[in-house]
Amino acid sequence: MKTPRGTHYEILGIEPSATGEELEEAYRRCLALYGEGALAIYSLLEPEELRAVRARVDEAYRVLSDPDRRREYDASPREPEPDDTDAAPDLPRPEPAVLPEPVTGPDLRRVREARGVALKEIAIASKIGVRFLEYIEADRHADLPAVVYLRGFLQEYARAVGLDPQRTAASYLARLARPGPRATGA
């Protein structure tokens, strides 16, 4: 799970036409659900996930409760919502680029460094351990998880550094000549 996405309205569970009163009510509801010591959410979210949700709720409330900022927000163009399956992390994204094949770990690292994205950032956004990201960059194929997971990891990585996720993953995986790789323990 990552930072919750959605518009400020969706985060608070209200319609864009919501009145100030409805906004206050929704904010109170969200605090009850996600607040310190809240019972209903117990054990469902990790502490850092809970913090991220709270931060999003607070930000949404700060913007929408200020008439000027709300107007500005309503007027600003909205990014199209990705669907559930397209989980792009909330990082600034330049145009997706495609690297010449074959894509190697060092190629990926060069792109990442050129874009100024820290491994830690990718790890936080994607919930993939830094260790696995390092293995990807170091081409330590034997230490990488099974292809079914690795493909997802590579796609997340590619998105974070502004590469085309599908093609990057496919190209990287094509170099792996390991028959039936097994998942490594985490």
Partner: protein, 324 residues
């Protein structure tokens, strides 16, 4: 991987989707000591009072005690006798409870083996239960998330999940709801690879980072879009109902709605809130006297609450609460 879903607006209308006949009900909760059996007994008694022909099934195979909740003696024949084929027809182990319209199939308290029934026995029990000629079969499930318990839960038209406003119960409730869903998805999963992904998700510490059903669907989607769609249908068809028991405040009552919201946003599960039962010493006094609080003139507010839940579930209506 998952994105949090928007909070659903509080439901104001009866759920519009056509329901299958609501005949087989089950009550689970994952945790012991939260009033599951008492709630099952009182809900059964209430449904019978509303004119339904009801059979209560004590499916807590290791720790059957529904007869005590109902204030009747432990029956000579139990579900164990049917499972072990000492009795051929399941009807023959159903006993009267002294309440018109309400019969009881008692759990097997006499031997441990019944708690570990095998797959064929389970299928036989479920098939016979479904064939019972009654309006409602209400199964009281044991604590925990063993497959035997979950399979009865999944076989129901109305799956009720009881929690009390305590962290331990909430935690076990989430564990139960997730375990049951993964079991359901595992059964529906087509293809070795997809099954392997579902299996890996069941291990909460899997290396793939799959932590929620939404993560799981995303992982399957990357592998096989058609399989993901099939699993998505299963996810949509999974609609447990929460009951919050032992409610002592408005904030406690609001927990049910919050659970529904949290399930939708963070697990992708569309649950509903069937209602709450307020805490009252009268219930405890009735238990001590081996009387059922819904039968008692002193049953008070908890009896009213059970009545509302029964009526709502029969109509297919969900509780609508402004969450505080």
């Amino acid at each position: 991987m998952s994105a949090a879903q928007p909070i659903a607006a509080p439901a104001r209308v009866p759920s519009a989707s056509p329901h299958p006949p609501r005949r087989i009900w089950s009550i689970g909760g994952g945790k012991g000591g939260i009033g599951k059996s008492l709630l099952a007994a009182s809900l059964g008694a209430q449904l019978a009072r509303m004119g339904k022909r009801v059979v209560l099934v004590d499916a807590d195979l290791g720790g059957a005690n529904l007869h005590t909740c109902l204030g009747v003696a432990g029956p000579p024949l139990t579900l164990g006798d049917f499972i072990q084929r000492r009795v051929e027809r399941i009807e023959d182990v159903a006993v009267e409870t002294g309440r018109p319209g309400l019969r009881l199939i008692s759990g097997a308290s006499d031997f441990l083996s019944a708690a570990n029934i095998n797959y064929a026995q389970k299928v036989r029990v479920l098939n016979r239960i479904k064939a019972l000629d009654v309006d409602v079969v209400l199964m009281d499930l044991g604590a925990g998330t063993a497959y035997n318990i979950i399979d009865f839960f999944l076989a129901s038209d109305v799956s009720l999940l009881v929690v009390v406003p305590e962290p331990t119960s909430i935690e076990n409730g989430y564990r139960f709801i997730k375990s049951a869903l993964y079991r359901r998805l595992r059964r529906a999963a087509q293809g070795d690879e997809v099954r392997r992904i579902v299996d890996s998700a069941i291990d909460a510490r899997n290396p793939s980072g799959i932590r929620t059903p939404l993560d799981l669907l995303a992982a399957v989607e990357r592998e096989d879009a058609a399989a993901a769609e099939a699993l998505r249908r299963e996810l949509r068809g999974y609609q447990p109902h929460f009951i919050v028991n032992q409610v002592r405040s408005d904030a406690d009552a609001a927990i049910g709605q919050q659970l529904v919201t949290a399930c939708a946003r963070h697990l992708g599960i569309r649950s509903t809130y069937a209602g709450f039962v307020r805490y009252d010493d009268a219930v405890w006094r009735c238990v001590r006297q081996r009387r059922l609080f819904v039968d008692d003139p002193e049953g008070g507010r908890p009896a009213e609450d059970v009545q509302k839940i029964a009526a709502g579930l029969l109509k297919g209506e969900n509780l609508t609460l402004p969450w505080s």
